[in-house]
């Protein structure tokens, strides 16, 4: 007993001493160069050609480079390619590569690596293979020049080289890229401890401008409240912010809030094969019965932009279709009666559990629809189930989900082609020809007109009800600068710096 007592006392004393110990505060005269950032979702490996997970690309964009990059204002900028020439017919693109680029393993990057990488991106194991099947020939002109030839004219060809999955990798490191990535990017991977953290280290041989940060430590904190706690005590320099947390940091002079509309749309997809939903009037009545402002308030705490069609307001081709069908519950009831459903009906709604914003939105919508007599049975399903049941098997009545991250409008809208076999499509085929024209139209203004027409058709026909473009938000300590939000799901740490 005595011994036990001693042990306990010793233990308590140890804890107390450790608790009272002051953390060593380094006498910092220099500017900080080590950034810590919180993140919530583990990357699915660090091989850019073998996953479709946004959590992977957010990180890998700093390790690998693409031929061209995209700026926060959607402009395409040179990256590995110094310049490029598109042939007059638009079917060929020739890139001139930089001659001062080295992989992290010290080997110089040449056009053979670009060829290898795109073949790897197009092979059977690559989730993005379909996006690049239009590229039918890759020709090495010399060590620093490479030409891509397409089968069909695609006016958005250049954009497809800016996505983070179109990264250039060295063949010799191919088999272990998932855990030991080797790229040409501004940072190298120092350490990835699953479930804990991922540390990036400045690439001393980087070809671009001097990088300000020495290390970037990404710390995995799955719980948003714990994340905020870590930010408020100063352990974290940058954290992703959820709508309900904005009030905790906004107006505080120690923090900054970065908030931009995402390049994404949140939609309520409708199965037009359903006996009720096949009726256009029913779909319009539903759209009229949904108060999108309420949906945005409930799912994003107001941090979202209302949309009326399938393009986000940030897109260069965006047309404001919000007033085509406006919120009007009385008229919605009339329209439903006109369609022959005076007493309403019942439909199912599958909501993906992992995405709280879609679940929240779906619940508000269910309530709003019940007011015009449409009963909605909510089923909250796991993402895996959602993908195989709703997306794959098209076994659903309605769902709320987001579509995200594309730089060209065609990629956003092509799922509505009547022959797309997508889970939502406009089977009546009104926009098939328009899409066909859009992708072949070299004149930018004419192209915009076509996309406008498509957006108007979608806003009227409503194969889905268009809800909002949610915002991406970050909270930053006041001494962090240079962090930007891009139209694709990436982080770019090479421009980030600390202010004195």
């Amino acid at each position: 007993m005595k011994k036990l007592k001693k042990i306990i006392i010793l233990f308590i004393v140890t804890i107390l001493i450790s608790a009272c110990q002051q953390e060593d505060t380094p006498i910092a005269t220099d500017i900080k160069t080590d950034l810590t950032m919180g993140y919530t979702t583990e990357p699915e490996g660090l091989d850019p050609h073998r996953t479709a997970a946004a959590s992977t690309f957010a990180v890998t964009n700093n390790i690998y480079d693409t031929l061209v990059g995209v700026k926060s204002n959607w402009e395409i900028e040179p990256r590995l390619a110094e310049e490029w020439v598109i042939s007059d017919d638009g079917m060929e693109i020739t890139f001139s590569l930089r001659d001062d680029v080295y992989f992290h393993n010290g080997r110089k990057m040449v056009s053979k690596d670009v060829e290898y990488s795109f073949n790897r991106l197009k092979d059977a194991e690559s989730p993005r293979a379909r996006d690049y099947e239009n590229i039918v020939k890759i020709e090495i002109l010399n060590d620093y020049e490479i030409k891509f030839t397409t089968a069909n004219l695609d006016v958005d060809l250049l954009q497809s080289f800016a996505y983070p999955w179109a990264a250039v990798v060295p063949e010799e490191a191919e088999s272990n890229l998932k855990t030991q990535p080797v790229g040409t990017g501004a940072f190298t991977l120092k350490e990835w401890l699953p479930q804990q953290h991922l540390i990036l280290e400045k690439n001393e041989n980087y070809y671009g401008n001097e990088i300000n940060l020495t290390t970037v430590k990404l710390i995995l904190i799955p719980d948003a409240t714990s994340m905020m706690a870590g930010f408020q005590v100063g352990d974290l320099d940058i954290i992703p912010l959820t709508g309900d947390q904005v009030t905790m940091v906004e107006g505080n002079e120690n923090y900054q809030v970065l908030s931009e509309p995402m390049n994404a749309v949140q939609i309520m997809s409708l199965n037009t094969n359903n006996q009720y939903l096949s009726n256009e009037k029913v779909r319009q009545a539903m759209a009229m019965a949904i108060n999108k402002d309420e949906v945005i308030e409930a799912s994003m705490f107001g941090y979202g932009a209302k949309i009326g069609s399938h393009l986000p307001p940030t897109s260069p081709d965006y047309y404001d279709a919000n007033n085509i069908i406006e919120y009007n519950p009385d008229k919605a009831k009339e329209l439903l009666e006109e369609a022959g459903y005076k007493d309403g009906f019942t439909i199912d709604m599958s909501l993906p559990k992992n995405y709280q914003l879609h679940v929240d939105a779906g619940q508000v919508i269910a309530d709003q629809l019940s007011r015009i007599g449409i009963d909605v049975n909510i089923q909250i399903v796991e993402w895996g189930t959602w993908l195989s049941e709703v997306y794959g098997a098209k076994n659903f009545d309605s769902t709320v989900v987001g579509h995200t991250g594309r730089l060209d409008s065609y990629a956003f809208l092509s799922r509505y082609r009547s022959d797309s076999q997508d889970y939502i499509s406009l089977t009546s085929g009104e926009i098939d020809q328009l899409l066909e024209n859009a992708i072949k139209e070299l004149d930018e203004n004419k192209r915009k007109e076509i996309y406008k027409e498509i957006q108007i058709i979608l806003a009227n026909k409503l194969p889905a009800i268009y809800l909002q473009t949610p915002h991406t938000m970050f909270a930053l300590q006041k001494d962090v600068g240079g962090m930007e939000i891009f139209p694709i799901d990436i982080y770019d740490f090479k421009e980030v710096y600390f202010i004195e």
Binding site: E44, P194, S388, H403
Partner: protein
């Protein structure tokens, strides 16, 4: 004695085998095709079919099972899809976290439960008894995510004596490592305390009513000796079984606490595997956790046999 242990080990192996069959087939038939999940919302049906084939998911189930079982016997659980690392390595890395908070939490819970439970039983209906009965209620009623948050806000943010989240390995810095597991352990301890306290109190009450207690009193032994040597020893069986079960539960991962405190333990690994449909990782984890639970139960049973003379003699009588 040895025969008993051997027969227990034999039955454990049978249980493990049955679990392996169930685990494999249940995970295979749950909705959600891993190939579809990897490819996401841009995939065509063709691409899903191709990847399903290259992942070997289109082979007959029994063939897949046999292949998996053979690898398992060689302690090869395959490579995780999400991490691209061997499942065994991932599990080995998570064990220290989960085990250390489990042991720590159980130590706290056992310590408090035995002190208060014993006193509460001896001094029935006293203030201490009422106090410990309130603890029982609270321990069961307070959700761990809530108390976890309160601790983070108070001890982490306000007093700043503990880190708000994260885990420091023990070989990196002992003090910081201790600090990083104290809050989660206390939260877990609170959750387990209620049940344990109730069991200790009721077994102790039961034990106090036994004839040998009167005997001891008549013999004129000191109160301390009576309560600790006679009453408490007789009252150990039930709490020990519960402690074993609770420890096994904690060792199998504590998803909520690990999530709140961002600890890289087994529970979180299970959650990640489920969310990403990393079937290979999930199968490995389920097998590992089942094996640990079976092992812990086995140890507890053997321990009880040593502590409680009645069971030992019963077993020996049977031989």
């Amino acid at each position: 004695m040895l025969t008993y242990v051997l027969s227990r080990i034999k039955s454990s192996i049978v249980v493990l085998f049955v679990v392996s069959v169930i685990t494999f087939f249940v995970l295979m038939i749950i909705p959600g095709n891993p190939a579809q999940l990897i490819l996401g919302t841009d995939a065509t049906a063709e691409m899903v079919a191709d990847l399903t084939e290259s992942m070997g998911l289109n082979k007959p189930l029994y063939q897949q099972y046999l292949g998996w079982l053979l690898d398992l016997l060689k302690l090869d659980m395959g490579t995780s899809y999400v991490y691209g690392e061997e499942v065994t390595r991932l599990i080995i890395r998570s064990i220290p976290v989960t085990i250390s908070i489990s042991i720590f939490a159980m130590a706290i819970a056992v310590f408090i439960a035995f002190i208060f439970g014993t006193i509460a039983a001896i001094k029935k209906n006293s203030i201490i008894d009422y106090f410990s009965r309130s603890i029982m209620q609270l321990g069961v009623a307070i959700p761990s995510f809530w108390i976890g948050m309160v601790f983070i806000v108070y001890f982490g943010m306000k007093l700043r004596i503990f880190p708000v989240s994260g885990y420091v390995p023990i070989n990196e810095n002992f003090l910081n490592s201790l600090k990083s597991i104290i809050l989660p352990s206390v939260v877990l301890a609170i959750g387990e305390l209620g049940t344990l306290l109730r069991i200790v109190r009721s077994s102790m009450l039961d034990s106090l009513k036994q004839d040998y207690m009167d005997m001891a009193k008549v013999k004129g032994l000191s109160a301390g000796k009576i309560y600790i040597k006679y009453a408490l020893r007789g009252a150990l069986t039930a709490p020990l079984t519960i402690i074993g079960m609770q420890f096994a539960k904690l060792a199998g991962g504590t998803v909520v606490v690990e999530t709140i405190f961002a600890l890289p333990g087994l529970g979180r690994l299970v959650l990640t595997a489920v969310e990403h449909r990393d079937i290979i990782l999930l199968q490995g984890l389920v097998m590992f956790i089942t094996a640990s639970v079976i092992f812990i139960t086995l140890i507890v049973d053997i321990l009880i046999m040593f502590i409680n003379p009645r069971i030992k003699s019963f077993q020996q009588g049977e031989l």
